[in-house]
Subunit: 211 residues, 4 copies
DNA sequence: AGATAAACGAGACGGTACGTCACGTCTTAGG
DNA sequence: CCTAAGACGTGACGTACCGTCTCGTTTATCT
């Protein structure tokens, strides 16, 4: 979601002026949050196939109309609900070391996925992203912006320093970083252990190292 | 599912004699196959969330009762339908080389996933396995038997020869082998390129190499 | 059902104000009528055991949910569908004569039952009322309000005039009026002849006459 | 069904010889009885709409095939099951008095209907007879043979003696005898009181009396 | 201070699919 | 050839959600 500082999914007006001149009440932030929270709970309790918009609406004391006004589909809502939990807690690298900087990129999700509820909810969100075109795009937009691009910067820096091989590949890097997580979360349906972060970073650096 | 020579999901009788002495009609093989084929088509056309047992039954000219008699849930059927396509075409290694032997383990699925239909169907099956407890177990049983255990044999052999580090880890190996596939298939919702097999094998061997 | 002027089965609000203040769409009258008509047709074409809510929904272009929202069960719908055909055509007595006044009570149903479709539909509705607790109550509530109570008034009047015996019994009277109809309709599975009305009335008056 | 002394519904062979020459086992009486008993229980527990042949077969430890071989439909079985309970206990008139003789005709059913189970089962059987063409014929055949014809004899005798009006009508008589029973059993869904028999007989005799 | 218009809760609506149950027919093995 | 057991295609059950819609109320801006 490329909307770090605004409500999710809002259809941006062509010009800001047009928006300002609009009459009537604005989008209710309280309602939006209640829906996101309810959706996250729904995901963690019923998974993706059992995800019910009716139930989300009831639990959030919102009307279905309101949900469908702001989210294209249930899948988009599911992905948004999971991503919304990350936005609140970005992590700043412990040091300028390349390991710490990469860790800071993947840690937020790894932490979220550590709890039982979090694993269920994130698994659900990922399934939603895999099932639905639009939801997939939301997920990949977030992934690109929050992981891929920053990672590319870091790796490019390292390449300049000569610590990485010349033909380093950003896709290979992201696959090595996240593939194992998907394997544990989706294919093995299990939790993701705590020590994982360090291991993943090492794995990437080793694969791309110039030696 | 590790039942290369029997119908899927059949509840094994305690003794074979007991089974043989049972009266009444036997499970219809024609119906079973029609259902598996229809389920595979359904998966590739509608994905996992859109997977409809009604439609599978209609297309297979089978009754829903028959489906639910032999499969615990739609998810189990989805996973079975995908696995059934593998059972028919096992691959024998081109040589005794370790690379070829590992390749032979992962090639069947990689080939299946290469086509558009195959990618959709397998993505769906994987989502089903992630969504549903029972379906997950079917998938992991297949994975364990067809990939993990054979792979362990191969790696153990190599370790004895001294070409692998002593503390090689089967989980790390499978993650490196399949993680990238899941990343492409699920998270990126894209196809899996042809050259992949060799790259995955190299990645594993390098990570576990003794040097 | 004693709701001559409202939609069937509506759960009456405690106060009318509460109902009026309710938000959201109201019950669709068009849908309700279409369902009642389709149910009547279904009953006359397939009888009670063959009565299919699916088919009623399809023919009424309504959803099953809508049917089950407003009717407790298929049986209740069947009874309502038959009763609804009576509500439209009440009969006013030809004269103030006691024979005409009693006739006017039973004529609507007798007329309805005279046609082939009517006989089938009413037989079906009666079977539904006999099969199902709730449907039975709807039927008996209608019977009580539309037949029993008015009949009691008429007979009480006559008793005061001395033309009826003192120990006249309302149950005996209704049994004599309707029992023969049920016998023909249910037990004999046949039509109810035209001359019936007069004969039934005579039979009751004779049985209760003071002489 | 005119089979007071044979198994119900058996398709009579054209000649007895043909039947005697038939090879293979004969119809199992034990199975037949078990099915009739189970059907009666089923009727009294689930009513007519809830009547399940599957359940009858299971409870009677019979196969469905066996049931469908000997009964045309579930409705026929239901009627047969109810009638079978009467066959065992015919009633001989207490005296030669016309009242006692008529009573003896209707008492068996009235007694059967007195208990809770009996009322449910008989109501179910009657609904089956009303729902289904074939079952209706079985019921009416029994009714004709066991009630209508004997009653006609009795009334004809009385007419000769001059105690009945000349234009007595057998249909009127049976309607007056049974109509009230159907009203109580079907329309009112209630029990039939004990004193009923005498009242019904009086009602008929009074209606047909010559005075 | 209205009038206008959008957002909101509630929930009815036509649909599709669910997983279960029963139907009546058919197949198998045993007596 | 009858029987018990039970698999099969068909189709209805009553429930749950879908995404759209219609209400009446509440807010916010614009005349």
């Amino acid at each position: 979601m490329g909307e770090s500082d605004s409500l999710p999914q809002a259809t941006e007006p062509t010009t800001e002026d047009a928006e300002k001149r609009r009459v009537g009440p604005k989008r209710s932030e309280a309602s939006t949050n209640a829906v996101l929270v309810a959706a996250y709970t729904e995901l963690s309790e019923h998974g993706w196939r059992g995800f019910s918009v009716d139930r989300v609406a009831k639990n959030a004391k919102a009307s279905k109309q309101t949900i469908y006004r702001w989210w294209k589909s249930a899948a988009c809502l599911a992905v948004d609900a999971a991503l919304a939990t990350l936005a609140e807690k970005p992590i700043t690298p412990a040091s300028n070391d390349v390991r710490d900087r990469i860790s800071a990129l993947i840690e937020p999700m790894l932490i979220a996925v550590r709890t039982g509820d979090g694993a269920h909810a994130w698994r659900g969100a990922l399934l939603a992203a895999a099932d639905d075109q639009d939801a997939g795009e939301i997920f990949r937009a977030w992934f690109s912006e929050s992981v891929k691009i920053p990672l590319r910067h870091i790796l490019a820096e390292q390449a300049l320093k000569g610590t990485l091989r010349r033909d380093w590949d950003i896709d290979l890097a992201t696959e090595l970083l996240f593939g194992p997580v998907w394997h544990r979360l989706i294919a093995m349906r299990g939790p993701v252990p705590e020590v994982y972060s360090r291991r993943l970073v090492e794995s990437v650096l080793k694969a791309l190292s110039s030696t």
